[in-house]
């Protein structure tokens, strides 16, 4: 990742977004690292190319170490995007404890999206 400006204090934890090995019965997007405003567009693009009409989509956040409200908003957008594209279901897999699970709970996302324990 290129450094932006002279004030950058160090390299960030990289964000990895990739289609996951599927079993053919669902489409999967795996997100690892830190999801904030810098990675939301790439995440939504990956959801867009991975989703398959008629198949459930799983968004695997078990490798995610950081999520903020901007990243959470991207999860809500991904859910809508996938359902609009015909996904049979959208499931988010995340560890219930730790930094990511805490934000999902505090923002009430667990009541809106289908979040399952990793």
């Amino acid at each position: 990742m290129s450094r932006q400006g002279a004030h950058w204090p160090g390299d960030p934890v990289p964000l990895t977004i990739a289609p996951s090995e599927g079993d053919g019965a669902s489409a999967c997007v795996r997100v690892e690292g830190e999801l904030d405003m810098a990675g939301c567009d790439a995440f939504l693009r990956e959801v867009g190319v991975t989703v398959r009409a008629g198949l459930p989509l799983e968004i695997d956040l078990r490798g995610l170490t950081f999520l903020d409200s901007t990243g959470t908003r991207a999860l809500l957008a991904a859910d809508r995007l996938a359902r609009d594209a015909g996904a049979a279901d959208v499931r988010i897999r995340a560890h219930p404890h730790g930094a990511v699970g805490r934000v999902l709970h505090v923002l009430g996302v667990v009541h809106v999206l289908d979040v399952v324990d990793g």
């Binding site: 960030p12 409200s69 901007t70 730790g98 009541h111």
Partner: protein, 159 residues
């Protein structure tokens, strides 16, 4: 998890930055200037790592979220030409983080609490929920600050 909703205020009020208010007790201080780009939140988290390492795990997680929320707002609304300034103050019992930019700030009265499923406006409410104290330190330039306890509060455990 969090205290019941009725006990959580998501309001922001004018309040002197506690790091400056208690300047005589400051054990250590960090200051970093960040270009207002999408990389600024990650840079702010990285810059605060030395203080994060001194906190309980939950407090460290919360501090990282809170500084990201505020710096994200600054990166969205501050002028492109002027850096975002992040100051962190290590006090005996808490860490205080102040974020200053030259943007227009926000009207506290216009903020509402998080509404599940509705996008927008959640970041500052999230800070207000997670912080042990928070406030608008100054209007010109616009500075918001929050504090987090250094020791784990109460018997709350991870999760």
């Amino acid at each position: 998890m969090l205290p019941p909703d009725e006990h959580v205020s998501t309001a922001w009020h004018d309040a002197p930055c506690r790091g400056l208010d208690r300047r005589g007790e400051v054990e250590d201080r960090l200051s970093v200037r960040l270009d207002p780009t999408p990389l600024a939140p990650a840079a702010a988290r990285h810059a605060l790592a030395p203080f994060c390492d001194l906190l309980a795990a939950r407090a460290c997680d919360d501090l990282r979220v809170m500084v990201s929320e505020i710096v994200t707002n600054s990166a969205l609304y501050a002028r492109v030409s002027t850096p975002i300034r992040v100051d962190a103050f290590l006090l005996p019992d808490e860490v205080v983080v102040a974020v200053t930019d030259d943007g227009p700030g926000f009207d506290p009265g216009a903020l509402s609490g998080p509404r599940p499923g509705e996008p927008g406006g959640h970041g500052l409410s999230l800070v207000a929920i997670l912080a042990s104290a928070h406030g608008i330190g100054s209007r010109i330039p616009f500075c918001v600050w929050f504090a987090v306890w250094r020791a784990e509060a109460g018997t709350e455990h991870a999760g």
